[in-house]
């Protein structure tokens, strides 16, 4: 008997619970299983008793009253003997992971509403998903957060839209604030800096502006490329930059392109931007996209099966913002239509291409010729026979309206015709579509040949 009990005690509760769940799963409907059983956990196994921890009394009552016999049967099958089943309510399970409960909430604080905008707490270094495309940037961000002002100054992130530049920048800011809450941080878009500058000139308060920006410990400026061509702003920023750098204040900048490619930026600013560390952030690769989707799901307290996540990740090679948008759309639709998350159910989101198919004008002209049984030479040639004119006008209409080609370009494609000719042809078909059934039919049928 002694041996038996030690044997049972050594059973891993988590593994046993998995086995029990496998048995329960086939006995109850999927939605019931997901709701009632998935959030429960087997926390303790003793000689005679199993203790399950559940998120709230609703779960306790439901499992005890509706599912106790089933649980006992499954437990007997898995563990080889009868057990009593006990329940314990563990409210911390009801709270989504992202909001961890502090032991004691802080005392009331003076609202930290000074003139400085607070940084969005959503963006932290901890929830930044690191992958091949951004690990260098992440490492640099860590270094700067550890040692602001000294590691790399300025730190310059560049890359396309939605790759995480702002996230990293705010993540550094938040990390520094967490360590030293009294740090003065200014986060602004380049546009805000420009407006402040313009306002300061208008109201004759340049002193205030200088005080504000030059007294900060950390300066974060987003989308610096918009400084392009703003000479006054650039000069002000140049001086701010110099002063901050001399007193070892950290400067972090982002842009959608490297400093050298930003047009109309003074050389002295460019060289200063390049004086620190410049890092290119690429759009995420497949593995990173999978990791990001998993992180986002967790953040939202949702679960999606792995194959679904992979399917989403492989079908969108886009930036992270669009990826998240798609994920939200999918989750929302599944929720409102009560569909279980499976690859089939999400396939219609995946298959809708984000970009519209780009059509080749040459192919369209060939399609039009094919439809009317003409030569491309005749269609674009100088002859003005009746049988040629209508197809030619239809071609003008389709090229300008459907492909949004310019009238000049359309004219060029059709044998160097004048743009006014094209406009006339286009307008004629526009009118005819509404009045002439035959023309309407032709246009629709032609379009069908290439769409």
């Amino acid at each position: 008997m002694d041996k038996l009990s030690t044997k049972i005690l050594s059973v891993d509760p988590e593994a046993s619970w998995q086995k029990i769940l496998d048995i329960v799963k086939v006995e109850v409907s999927e939605s019931n299983f997901n709701l009632w059983f998935k959030s429960a956990e087997l926390t303790e196994i003793t000689d005679t008793k199993l203790t399950l921890s559940v998120p709230s009394a609703f779960f306790f009552e439901q499992l005890k009253i509706r599912y106790l016999p089933l649980l006992m049967k499954a437990a007997k099958e898995v563990l080889g003997k009868e057990f009593l089943i006990d329940f314990r309510v563990d409210p911390s399970k009801a709270v989504k992971k992202k909001t961890k409960i502090k032991e004691e909430e802080d005392m009331f604080s003076m609202p930290q509403v000074s003139t400085l905008p607070r940084l969005n707490p959503k963006f932290t270094l901890a929830n930044f998903v690191v992958g091949l495309s951004n690990n260098v940037a992440y490492a640099a961000a860590q270094a700067v957060a550890q040692n602001p002002g000294n590691a790399y100054n300025p730190l310059f992130f560049y890359g396309g839209t939605g790759v995480g530049k702002t996230h990293l920048m705010l993540g550094i800011g938040n990390a520094i604030l967490a360590k030293k809450p009294e740090t003065k941080i200014i986060y602004c878009s380049s546009e805000k800096f420009m407006n402040d500058y313009v306002d300061a000139i208008k109201t004759n308060k340049m002193g205030d502006l200088r005080n504000k920006y030059r007294s900060t410990d950390i300066l974060l400026v987003d989308d610096i490329q918009f400084f392009s061509g703003r000479e006054g702003t650039q000069e002000e920023f140049f001086h701010t930059f110099n002063e901050l750098q001399t007193k070892n204040s950290q400067i972090i900048l982002t842009s959608d392109r490297p400093p050298n490619d930003i047009a109309k930026i003074e050389e002295r600013l460019k060289s200063r931007f390049q004086g620190g560390l410049m890092i290119d952030i690429q759009t995420p690769d497949y593995d990173t996209r999978v990791a990001i989707l998993q992180a986002k799901c967790q953040e939202k307290g949702e679960t999606l099966p792995e194959d679904v996540i992979k399917a989403i990740a492989s079908s969108f090679e886009t930036n992270i913002r669009e990826l998240e948008g798609k994920l939200v759309q999918i989750l929302q639709t599944l929720k409102t239509q009560n569909l279980p998350p499976s690859v089939e159910n999400i396939s219609r989101f995946i298959n809708t291409p984000i970009k519209t198919v780009s059509l080749d004008p040459k192919k369209i002209l060939t399609a039009i010729c094919g439809y009317f049984h003409l030569n491309l030479k005749d269609l674009s040639g100088p002859k003005r026979q009746k049988g040629l004119v209508l197809p030619r006008h239809i071609a003008m209409y389709i090229l300008t309206e459907e492909l949004s080609l310019t009238v000049e370009k359309t004219g060029g494609l059709l044998g160097g015709r004048d743009h006014t000719t094209v406009m006339h042809g286009r307008d004629r078909i526009k009118k005819l579509i509404n009045t002439d059934r035959e023309v309407q039919k032709m246009v629709i049928e032609v379009k069908q040949t290439f769409l």
Binding site: A57, F58, V89, T99, V113
Partner: protein
């Protein structure tokens, strides 16, 4: 199951219960209302697993039984029927409804799929419904943002014959105190949504002199309210609430009695220009008046005076206009007492003539 009931009796109960169904749940049965016919009465139940609501109503029951029906369908249907007698009868998982020439059958789900609502055990504490009703004046101060879950709850604390309700989001605090004849002790954090629902249900009770009973089950982290023919069972929020007593100032540097209406209009005017940064409105507290000013760089500025009887020293203090207006609108009496304990310390606001209600307003640091 078979019973008959008058539409005008059923509808208010049904709509009240339907507010707590689980709309966005993965489990379809949570979108349903459980209808259960017992001896001489029927029971309507809904739950979203945060809160569960049970209501009883008397009816002419011919055959006991139960079924669950989609809340939306049944509410729409009963709403559209006029004041008539309605007959209900189940046929397997279908509910047949008839009234005169009208007949409908609704597809339901078996009652055994419906969750069990945790019910009270042991003894609870009880007090009059008016006392709970006045708690509506503190709700606004609780946090809406889930970032600090503890602050989305209303602290309900019974100790030494005093029942305290406290709501705060860290920037302002509202406190309501009720004296009751009960020396037991408990402390729980009721989710704001539950509190709102309980207040709504209390508001729907037509009878006077209705007692409210509260039961808690701390091991299950659950609270149960019994209000007339209604039972509300809700999950509690886990965590410990900030020690709010410490924040209530015990002494003050200046004390003002002021007309609430005038202060509200002045605060509204000031808020027009308090749009930037911290919505800052500045008060200069002087002997016989407040000078209230606000400005926005882009918009302009305003200045205004409100009469006040002030004793103590003069000082200057700034508030977030939104938080200020929230307090002033909730207070709801003709006169207010404001007690200032310094430009960087919390201000105490008390409506004159209301027992046990007070507000704490955090100032904004002037830059």
């Amino acid at each position: 199951m078979k019973f008959s009931i008058l539409q005008q009796d059923l509808l208010p109960v049904l709509s009240s219960v339907s507010r707590s169904v689980g709309i966005r749940s993965t489990l379809p049965v949570l979108g349903n209302i459980l209808i259960s016919a017992e001896e001489k009465k029927i029971k309507l139940v809904s739950t979203n697993l945060e809160i569960g609501v049970i209501k009883y109503i008397s009816a002419d029951v011919l055959e006991e039984g139960e079924i669950t029906i989609p809340a939306k369908t049944i509410v729409e249907l009963i709403q559209s029927l006029g004041s008539v007698k309605i007959d209900f009868e189940t046929e397997g998982e279908i509910l047949n409804i008839s009234s005169g020439k009208f007949k409908a059958s609704i597809n339901g789900i078996g009652a055994n799929e419906f969750p069990v609502i945790p019910l009270p055990e042991g003894t609870g504490i009880s007090f009059k419904k008016e006392e709970l009703k006045s708690c509506a004046q503190i709700l606004f101060a609780s946090a809406v943002d889930e970032g600090r879950p503890v602050l989305t709850g209303i602290l309900t604390q019974l100790s030494g014959g005093r029942l305290d309700f406290v709501a705060t989001d860290g920037f302002r605090l509202a406190h309501k105190e009720v004296k009751i004849d009960d020396l037991s002790e408990f402390k729980s954090l009721i989710p704001r949504k539950t509190f709102e629902e309980v207040l709504r249900i209390v508001g729907e009770v037509v009878e006077d002199e209705v007692g409210i009973e509260i039961y808690t089950n701390s091991s299950q982290n659950q609270i149960i309210f019994k209000i007339a023919q209604t039972v509300v069972s809700s999950r509690l929020i886990e965590g410990s609430f900030p020690s709010w007593e410490k924040i209530i100032p015990s002494e003050f540097k200046a004390r003002a009695v002021i007309d609430r209406g005038e202060l509200v209009s002045a605060a509204k005017l000031a808020s027009v220009f308090a749009k930037t940064d911290a919505n800052t409105v500045t008060f200069k507290v002087q002997k016989d008046r407040f000078i209230i000013s606000s400005q926005a760089k882009e918009l302009g500025s305003q200045i205004n005076e409100v009469e006040a009887q002030v004793e103590g020293e003069e000082l200057e203090i700034a508030y977030n206009s939104k938080f200020l207006l929230d307090v002033l609108s909730a207070a709801d009496t003709t006169q207010l007492i404001m007690e200032f304990s310094g430009p960087l310390s919390p201000t105490l606001v008390k409506p004159v003539g209301v027992e046990g209600l007070e507000y704490i307003l955090m100032p904004v640091r002037l830059s």
